[in-house]
Protein backbone atom coordinates (compact mmCIF):
# COMPACT_ATOMS: atom_id res chain seq x y z
CA UNK A 1 0.00 0.00 0.00
CA UNK A 2 1.16 3.50 -0.80
CA UNK A 3 0.55 6.02 1.93
CA UNK A 4 0.63 9.78 1.42
CA UNK A 5 2.45 11.28 4.35
CA UNK A 6 1.71 14.98 4.60
CA UNK A 7 5.03 16.80 4.96
CA UNK A 8 4.49 20.42 5.90
CA UNK A 9 8.08 21.31 6.61
CA UNK A 10 8.53 21.64 10.34
CA UNK A 11 7.45 18.24 11.58
CA UNK A 12 9.54 15.16 11.80
CA UNK A 13 7.93 12.92 9.22
CA UNK A 14 10.99 10.69 8.98
CA UNK A 15 10.19 8.69 12.10
CA UNK A 16 6.63 8.00 10.94
CA UNK A 17 7.99 7.02 7.55
CA UNK A 18 10.47 4.62 9.17
CA UNK A 19 7.80 3.12 11.44
CA UNK A 20 5.59 2.32 8.43
CA UNK A 21 8.55 1.06 6.46
CA UNK A 22 9.31 -1.48 9.23
CA UNK A 23 5.77 -2.74 8.65
CA UNK A 24 6.40 -3.06 4.93
CA UNK A 25 4.38 -0.02 3.86
CA UNK A 26 5.76 2.59 1.53
CA UNK A 27 5.17 6.27 2.23
CA UNK A 28 5.17 9.04 -0.31
CA UNK A 29 5.76 12.48 1.12
CA UNK A 30 3.01 14.86 0.04
CA UNK A 31 4.08 18.48 0.05
CA UNK A 32 1.34 19.73 -2.28
CA UNK A 33 -2.32 19.12 -3.06
CA UNK A 34 -2.06 16.90 -6.11
CA UNK A 35 -0.95 13.52 -4.63
CA UNK A 36 -3.68 13.54 -1.98
CA UNK A 37 -6.56 12.90 -4.36
CA UNK A 38 -5.02 9.64 -5.62
CA UNK A 39 -3.92 8.32 -2.24
CA UNK A 40 -4.80 4.89 -0.89
CA UNK A 41 -4.33 6.29 2.62
CA UNK A 42 -3.34 9.63 4.11
CA UNK A 43 -1.33 10.23 7.28
CA UNK A 44 -0.97 13.64 8.92
CA UNK A 45 1.86 13.46 11.48
CA UNK A 46 1.67 16.74 13.33
CA UNK A 47 4.15 18.26 15.74
CA UNK A 48 4.35 21.81 17.02
CA UNK A 49 1.83 24.64 16.84
CA UNK A 50 -1.79 24.33 15.62
CA UNK A 51 -1.53 27.58 13.63
CA UNK A 52 1.69 26.50 11.89
CA UNK A 53 0.09 23.27 10.67
CA UNK A 54 -3.15 24.86 9.45
CA UNK A 55 -1.31 27.75 7.76
CA UNK A 56 1.05 25.33 6.02
CA UNK A 57 -1.88 23.24 4.71
CA UNK A 58 -3.59 26.38 3.43
CA UNK A 59 -0.42 27.78 1.90
CA UNK A 60 -0.01 24.65 -0.22
CA UNK A 61 -3.75 24.56 -0.98
CA UNK A 62 -4.01 21.16 0.64
CA UNK A 63 -7.13 21.77 2.73
CA UNK A 64 -9.74 21.23 -0.01
CA UNK A 65 -8.20 18.07 -1.55
CA UNK A 66 -7.63 16.63 1.91
CA UNK A 67 -11.27 17.19 2.87
CA UNK A 68 -12.40 15.78 -0.49
CA UNK A 69 -10.29 12.66 0.00
CA UNK A 70 -11.62 12.13 3.54
CA UNK A 71 -15.14 12.67 2.26
CA UNK A 72 -14.61 10.06 -0.47
CA UNK A 73 -13.65 7.54 2.20
CA UNK A 74 -9.86 7.49 1.86
CA UNK A 75 -8.50 6.10 5.16
CA UNK A 76 -6.96 8.91 7.19
CA UNK A 77 -4.70 8.76 10.25
CA UNK A 78 -3.96 11.90 12.25
CA UNK A 79 -1.13 11.78 14.80
CA UNK A 80 -0.90 14.17 17.77
CA UNK A 81 -1.43 17.63 16.24
CA UNK A 82 -2.84 15.72 13.26
CA UNK A 83 -5.75 14.72 15.53
CA UNK A 84 -6.23 18.27 16.77
CA UNK A 85 -6.19 19.64 13.20
CA UNK A 86 -9.39 17.69 12.49
CA UNK A 87 -11.30 19.82 14.99
CA UNK A 88 -13.05 23.12 14.37
CA UNK A 89 -10.85 25.32 16.53
CA UNK A 90 -8.06 25.23 19.09
CA UNK A 91 -7.37 27.36 22.14
CA UNK A 92 -3.76 27.31 20.99
CA UNK A 93 -4.65 29.48 18.00
CA UNK A 94 -7.91 31.41 18.48
CA UNK A 95 -9.41 32.60 15.22
CA UNK A 96 -7.74 29.92 13.06
CA UNK A 97 -10.20 27.47 11.54
CA UNK A 98 -9.22 23.83 11.78
CA UNK A 99 -10.33 21.23 9.25
CA UNK A 100 -13.69 20.95 11.00
CA UNK A 101 -14.10 17.24 10.27
CA UNK A 102 -14.65 16.57 13.95
CA UNK A 103 -17.21 18.72 15.76
CA UNK A 104 -15.31 19.87 18.78
CA UNK A 105 -12.71 22.29 20.03
CA UNK A 106 -9.20 21.62 21.24
CA UNK A 107 -8.54 23.03 24.70
CA UNK A 108 -5.52 23.48 26.93
CA UNK A 109 -4.82 20.77 29.49
CA UNK A 110 -5.29 22.17 33.03
CA UNK A 111 -2.47 24.24 34.49
CA UNK A 112 -2.38 22.29 37.77
CA UNK A 113 -0.23 19.62 36.10
CA UNK A 114 3.16 19.99 34.44
CA UNK A 115 2.87 20.86 30.77
CA UNK A 116 3.63 19.59 28.20
CA UNK A 117 2.10 16.22 29.09
CA UNK A 118 5.32 14.47 28.15
CA UNK A 119 6.10 10.82 28.47
CA UNK A 120 4.46 7.41 28.60
CA UNK A 121 0.89 7.07 29.80
CA UNK A 122 -1.83 4.42 29.76
CA UNK A 123 -5.20 4.80 28.10
CA UNK A 124 -8.70 3.54 28.83
CA UNK A 125 -10.90 2.10 26.13
CA UNK A 126 -14.22 0.30 26.05
CA UNK A 127 -12.78 -2.55 24.01
CA UNK A 128 -14.41 -1.42 20.78
CA UNK A 129 -11.46 0.37 19.24
CA UNK A 130 -10.33 -0.97 15.87
CA UNK A 131 -6.98 0.81 16.08
CA UNK A 132 -6.14 -0.67 19.48
CA UNK A 133 -6.95 -4.25 18.51
CA UNK A 134 -4.40 -6.71 19.95
CA UNK A 135 -2.68 -4.10 22.11
CA UNK A 136 -2.54 -5.16 25.80
CA UNK A 137 -4.92 -3.04 27.88
CA UNK A 138 -2.06 -1.92 30.17
CA UNK A 139 0.08 -0.68 27.25
CA UNK A 140 1.87 2.64 27.61
CA UNK A 141 1.93 5.15 24.75
CA UNK A 142 4.19 8.18 24.30
CA UNK A 143 2.52 11.60 24.56
CA UNK A 144 4.03 15.08 24.01
CA UNK A 145 1.37 17.80 23.97
CA UNK A 146 -0.24 20.61 25.97
CA UNK A 147 -3.60 20.79 24.17
CA UNK A 148 -6.20 18.09 23.62
CA UNK A 149 -9.74 17.28 22.54
CA UNK A 150 -12.21 16.47 25.31
CA UNK A 151 -14.11 13.19 25.40
CA UNK A 152 -17.64 14.42 24.69
CA UNK A 153 -17.27 13.47 21.03
CA UNK A 154 -18.94 10.23 19.89
CA UNK A 155 -15.86 9.20 17.89
CA UNK A 156 -13.71 8.91 21.00
CA UNK A 157 -12.80 5.24 21.43
CA UNK A 158 -10.11 5.63 24.10
CA UNK A 159 -9.28 8.31 26.61
CA UNK A 160 -6.30 9.32 28.71
CA UNK A 161 -6.35 11.24 31.96
CA UNK A 162 -3.71 13.84 32.76
CA UNK A 163 -5.09 16.77 34.72
CA UNK A 164 -8.32 16.13 32.86
CA UNK A 165 -9.76 13.38 30.67
CA UNK A 166 -9.11 13.79 26.96
CA UNK A 167 -9.41 11.88 23.70
CA UNK A 168 -6.49 9.50 23.12
CA UNK A 169 -8.00 7.67 20.14
CA UNK A 170 -10.67 8.89 17.73
CA UNK A 171 -12.35 6.66 15.16
CA UNK A 172 -15.20 7.55 12.86
CA UNK A 173 -15.75 5.63 9.59
CA UNK A 174 -12.55 6.14 7.58
CA UNK A 175 -11.17 8.75 10.00
CA UNK A 176 -8.65 7.59 12.61
CA UNK A 177 -6.59 9.76 14.93
CA UNK A 178 -4.41 9.34 18.00
CA UNK A 179 -3.16 11.97 20.45
CA UNK A 180 -0.06 9.90 21.27
CA UNK A 181 2.84 9.16 18.94
CA UNK A 182 2.53 5.54 17.75
CA UNK A 183 5.84 5.90 15.88
CA UNK A 184 7.54 6.57 19.25
CA UNK A 185 5.53 4.11 21.34
CA UNK A 186 7.54 0.91 20.99
CA UNK A 187 5.79 -2.37 20.09
CA UNK A 188 2.32 -1.13 21.18
CA UNK A 189 2.62 1.84 18.84
CA UNK A 190 3.76 -0.38 15.98
CA UNK A 191 0.65 -2.51 16.54
CA UNK A 192 -1.57 0.59 16.20
CA UNK A 193 0.09 1.51 12.90
CA UNK A 194 -0.23 -2.09 11.67
CA UNK A 195 -3.92 -2.03 12.57
CA UNK A 196 -4.34 1.17 10.55
CA UNK A 197 -2.70 -0.52 7.57
CA UNK A 198 -5.10 -3.49 7.83
CA UNK A 199 -8.10 -1.19 8.18
CA UNK A 200 -6.96 0.83 5.16
CA UNK A 201 -6.29 -2.19 2.96
Amino acid sequence: MKISLIDYGTNNVASVERAFSRLGAECIRATAAEPLLNSEAIVLPGVGHFAALIRALDKENMRAPLLTAIDRGVPFLGICLGLQALCRTSEEAPGIAGLGVVPGSVVSLPKNVKLPHMGWNQIADAGESRLLRDTPSDSYFYFAHSFALGTAHSGTTASCTYGSKFTAVLESKNIFAVQFHPEKSGPAGARVLANFLSLAA
Binding site: T10, V47, K111, K114, P116, M118, W120, Y142, E183, K184
Partner: protein, 252 residues
Protein backbone atom coordinates in the same frame (compact mmCIF):
# COMPACT_ATOMS: atom_id res chain seq x y z
CA UNK B 1 -2.92 4.84 35.91
CA UNK B 2 -0.73 7.89 35.61
CA UNK B 3 2.22 9.27 33.75
CA UNK B 4 5.18 6.92 34.11
CA UNK B 5 8.56 8.16 35.36
CA UNK B 6 11.09 7.89 32.56
CA UNK B 7 14.49 6.20 32.50
CA UNK B 8 16.76 7.83 29.95
CA UNK B 9 20.18 6.51 28.96
CA UNK B 10 22.57 9.14 27.65
CA UNK B 11 25.24 8.62 25.00
CA UNK B 12 28.10 11.12 25.09
CA UNK B 13 29.63 10.95 21.64
CA UNK B 14 32.63 12.41 19.89
CA UNK B 15 33.47 11.74 16.26
CA UNK B 16 30.78 9.09 15.95
CA UNK B 17 31.87 7.11 19.02
CA UNK B 18 30.48 6.85 22.55
CA UNK B 19 33.31 8.18 24.64
CA UNK B 20 32.49 7.99 28.32
CA UNK B 21 32.69 4.91 30.52
CA UNK B 22 31.85 2.29 27.98
CA UNK B 23 32.40 -1.33 28.91
CA UNK B 24 29.32 -3.00 27.60
CA UNK B 25 29.42 -6.76 27.79
CA UNK B 26 27.88 -8.55 24.85
CA UNK B 27 28.34 -5.86 22.26
CA UNK B 28 30.82 -6.52 19.50
CA UNK B 29 31.65 -2.84 19.37
CA UNK B 30 30.93 -1.23 22.71
CA UNK B 31 31.64 2.30 21.57
CA UNK B 32 29.15 2.26 18.72
CA UNK B 33 26.22 4.59 19.48
CA UNK B 34 24.01 2.74 16.99
CA UNK B 35 24.51 -0.64 18.70
CA UNK B 36 23.98 0.90 22.15
CA UNK B 37 20.89 2.83 21.03
CA UNK B 38 19.34 -0.32 19.55
CA UNK B 39 20.07 -2.26 22.73
CA UNK B 40 18.56 0.36 25.04
CA UNK B 41 15.51 0.64 22.79
CA UNK B 42 14.99 -3.12 23.09
CA UNK B 43 15.64 -3.17 26.86
CA UNK B 44 12.89 -0.70 27.67
CA UNK B 45 14.53 2.73 27.71
CA UNK B 46 11.81 5.39 27.65
CA UNK B 47 13.83 7.84 25.65
CA UNK B 48 17.43 8.30 24.50
CA UNK B 49 19.68 11.35 24.63
CA UNK B 50 22.69 11.67 22.36
CA UNK B 51 25.14 14.47 23.06
CA UNK B 52 28.06 15.70 20.99
CA UNK B 53 30.60 16.47 23.68
CA UNK B 54 33.27 17.62 21.24
CA UNK B 55 30.83 19.89 19.46
CA UNK B 56 33.44 21.44 17.23
CA UNK B 57 32.22 22.88 13.96
CA UNK B 58 34.10 20.50 11.67
CA UNK B 59 32.73 17.47 13.50
CA UNK B 60 29.11 18.52 12.86
CA UNK B 61 28.44 16.29 9.83
CA UNK B 62 29.66 13.27 11.82
CA UNK B 63 27.25 14.07 14.67
CA UNK B 64 24.31 14.48 12.30
CA UNK B 65 25.18 11.13 10.72
CA UNK B 66 25.26 9.59 14.21
CA UNK B 67 21.76 10.98 14.91
CA UNK B 68 20.47 9.61 11.59
CA UNK B 69 21.86 6.14 12.25
CA UNK B 70 20.72 6.02 15.89
CA UNK B 71 17.23 7.36 15.07
CA UNK B 72 16.78 4.61 12.49
CA UNK B 73 17.04 2.03 15.30
CA UNK B 74 14.55 3.63 17.69
CA UNK B 75 10.83 3.32 18.37
CA UNK B 76 11.18 5.71 21.32
CA UNK B 77 11.86 9.47 21.43
CA UNK B 78 15.34 10.82 20.76
CA UNK B 79 16.80 14.06 22.09
CA UNK B 80 20.08 15.39 20.76
CA UNK B 81 22.33 18.29 21.57
CA UNK B 82 25.77 19.62 22.26
CA UNK B 83 26.94 22.76 20.56
CA UNK B 84 23.54 23.88 19.28
CA UNK B 85 23.89 27.63 18.88
CA UNK B 86 21.20 28.60 16.37
CA UNK B 87 17.87 27.74 14.82
CA UNK B 88 19.74 26.29 11.83
CA UNK B 89 21.77 23.99 14.10
CA UNK B 90 18.55 22.82 15.77
CA UNK B 91 16.76 22.30 12.47
CA UNK B 92 19.62 20.14 11.18
CA UNK B 93 19.45 17.95 14.29
CA UNK B 94 15.66 17.60 14.07
CA UNK B 95 15.79 16.86 10.35
CA UNK B 96 18.38 14.18 11.06
CA UNK B 97 15.77 12.42 13.20
CA UNK B 98 15.82 13.93 16.71
CA UNK B 99 12.46 14.71 18.33
CA UNK B 100 13.95 17.23 20.73
CA UNK B 101 17.03 19.41 20.94
CA UNK B 102 18.94 20.26 24.08
CA UNK B 103 20.52 23.69 24.46
CA UNK B 104 22.84 24.77 27.24
CA UNK B 105 25.56 27.44 26.96
CA UNK B 106 24.08 29.12 23.88
CA UNK B 107 20.77 29.59 25.71
CA UNK B 108 22.57 31.28 28.62
CA UNK B 109 24.49 33.51 26.21
CA UNK B 110 21.37 34.28 24.13
CA UNK B 111 18.15 33.44 26.01
CA UNK B 112 16.06 34.49 22.97
CA UNK B 113 17.30 31.29 21.30
CA UNK B 114 14.87 29.38 23.55
CA UNK B 115 11.88 31.36 22.23
CA UNK B 116 13.04 31.03 18.64
CA UNK B 117 13.29 27.25 18.93
CA UNK B 118 10.02 26.95 20.84
CA UNK B 119 8.18 29.03 18.23
CA UNK B 120 9.52 26.97 15.35
CA UNK B 121 9.48 23.43 16.75
CA UNK B 122 7.08 23.64 19.70
CA UNK B 123 7.90 23.66 23.42
CA UNK B 124 7.87 19.84 23.53
CA UNK B 125 10.97 19.86 21.32
CA UNK B 126 13.03 22.28 23.43
CA UNK B 127 15.03 20.90 26.35
CA UNK B 128 17.08 23.43 28.28
CA UNK B 129 20.07 21.73 29.89
CA UNK B 130 21.29 23.30 33.13
CA UNK B 131 24.56 22.35 34.83
CA UNK B 132 24.14 23.35 38.47
CA UNK B 133 26.73 23.61 41.24
CA UNK B 134 25.95 24.06 44.90
CA UNK B 135 27.01 27.22 46.75
CA UNK B 136 25.80 27.41 50.36
CA UNK B 137 21.99 27.28 50.25
CA UNK B 138 21.51 27.61 46.50
CA UNK B 139 22.84 26.40 43.14
CA UNK B 140 24.68 28.34 40.46
CA UNK B 141 24.68 27.69 36.71
CA UNK B 142 27.90 26.52 35.05
CA UNK B 143 28.47 26.79 31.30
CA UNK B 144 30.97 25.69 28.65
CA UNK B 145 30.98 22.11 29.85
CA UNK B 146 31.09 23.17 33.50
CA UNK B 147 34.26 25.25 33.08
CA UNK B 148 32.79 28.72 33.65
CA UNK B 149 30.28 30.26 36.01
CA UNK B 150 27.29 31.85 34.30
CA UNK B 151 26.66 34.06 37.37
CA UNK B 152 23.06 32.87 37.41
CA UNK B 153 20.95 31.24 40.11
CA UNK B 154 19.89 27.81 38.79
CA UNK B 155 16.26 28.07 39.95
CA UNK B 156 15.86 31.58 38.54
CA UNK B 157 17.40 30.49 35.26
CA UNK B 158 15.16 27.39 35.06
CA UNK B 159 12.07 29.53 35.63
CA UNK B 160 13.17 32.06 33.03
CA UNK B 161 13.91 29.30 30.51
CA UNK B 162 10.39 27.93 30.99
CA UNK B 163 8.84 31.38 30.58
CA UNK B 164 10.78 31.70 27.30
CA UNK B 165 9.33 28.44 25.97
CA UNK B 166 11.41 25.52 27.27
CA UNK B 167 9.29 22.36 27.41
CA UNK B 168 11.62 20.42 29.66
CA UNK B 169 14.66 20.93 31.92
CA UNK B 170 17.64 18.56 31.87
CA UNK B 171 19.19 19.23 35.26
CA UNK B 172 22.73 18.00 35.89
CA UNK B 173 24.44 18.25 39.25
CA UNK B 174 28.04 19.25 38.60
CA UNK B 175 28.88 18.18 42.16
CA UNK B 176 27.53 14.66 41.69
CA UNK B 177 28.30 14.00 38.01
CA UNK B 178 30.70 11.08 37.66
CA UNK B 179 30.82 10.35 41.40
CA UNK B 180 28.30 7.48 41.49
CA UNK B 181 27.11 8.63 44.92
CA UNK B 182 23.55 9.45 43.89
CA UNK B 183 21.55 12.26 42.33
CA UNK B 184 21.45 15.65 44.06
CA UNK B 185 17.98 15.19 45.53
CA UNK B 186 17.57 18.68 47.12
CA UNK B 187 18.63 20.34 43.84
CA UNK B 188 16.19 18.22 41.81
CA UNK B 189 13.36 18.82 44.26
CA UNK B 190 13.98 22.58 44.35
CA UNK B 191 13.83 22.91 40.58
CA UNK B 192 11.13 20.32 39.90
CA UNK B 193 8.68 21.70 42.50
CA UNK B 194 9.11 25.24 41.20
CA UNK B 195 8.83 24.93 37.43
CA UNK B 196 5.76 23.88 35.46
CA UNK B 197 7.55 21.56 33.02
CA UNK B 198 9.05 18.08 33.40
CA UNK B 199 12.53 17.85 34.94
CA UNK B 200 15.09 15.18 34.02
CA UNK B 201 17.54 14.55 36.88
CA UNK B 202 21.12 13.81 35.90
CA UNK B 203 24.49 13.22 37.53
CA UNK B 204 25.60 10.71 40.15
CA UNK B 205 23.45 7.63 39.47
CA UNK B 206 24.92 4.28 40.40
CA UNK B 207 22.46 2.30 42.53
CA UNK B 208 18.78 1.58 41.91
CA UNK B 209 18.07 3.29 45.26
CA UNK B 210 19.43 6.51 43.76
CA UNK B 211 16.67 6.45 41.14
CA UNK B 212 14.10 5.65 43.79
CA UNK B 213 15.01 8.65 45.95
CA UNK B 214 15.24 11.12 43.06
CA UNK B 215 11.72 10.14 41.95
CA UNK B 216 10.15 9.96 45.41
CA UNK B 217 11.90 12.77 47.29
CA UNK B 218 13.38 14.72 44.36
CA UNK B 219 10.08 14.80 42.41
CA UNK B 220 11.97 14.11 39.18
CA UNK B 221 9.85 13.31 36.15
CA UNK B 222 12.68 11.41 34.50
CA UNK B 223 16.17 10.27 35.41
CA UNK B 224 19.19 10.09 33.17
CA UNK B 225 22.24 7.89 33.49
CA UNK B 226 25.13 6.77 31.33
CA UNK B 227 27.82 4.63 32.87
CA UNK B 228 25.48 2.52 35.06
CA UNK B 229 23.98 1.20 31.81
CA UNK B 230 27.07 1.31 29.61
CA UNK B 231 29.13 -0.62 32.16
CA UNK B 232 26.39 -3.21 32.51
CA UNK B 233 26.10 -2.52 36.25
CA UNK B 234 22.35 -2.86 35.89
CA UNK B 235 20.00 -3.35 32.96
CA UNK B 236 17.17 -0.92 32.34
CA UNK B 237 14.65 -3.74 32.71
CA UNK B 238 15.93 -4.81 36.14
CA UNK B 239 16.08 -1.18 37.30
CA UNK B 240 12.45 -0.70 36.27
CA UNK B 241 11.35 -3.85 38.07
CA UNK B 242 13.10 -2.58 41.21
CA UNK B 243 11.34 0.79 40.93
CA UNK B 244 7.96 -0.81 40.32
CA UNK B 245 8.39 -2.91 43.47
CA UNK B 246 8.97 0.35 45.36
CA UNK B 247 5.62 1.64 44.12
CA UNK B 248 6.99 3.95 41.44
CA UNK B 249 5.06 3.97 38.18
CA UNK B 250 7.29 2.89 35.31
CA UNK B 251 6.62 1.47 31.87
CA UNK B 252 7.43 -2.23 31.79
Amino acid sequence: MSLARRIIPCLDTEGGRVVKGVNFVGLRDAGDPVALGARYNAEGADELIVLDIGASRDRRPTFLETIRRVAAELAIPLAAGGGIRSRDDARAVIQAGADKVTVNTAAVDHPSLISELSDEFGAQAVVVAIDAERENDHWNVRVRGGRDSAHLNALEWAQRAVSLGAGEILLTSVDRDGTGCGFDVPLTQTISRNVGVPVIASGGARLPEHFCEVFQEGAADAALAASIFHDNVRSIASLKHFLKAQGIEVRI
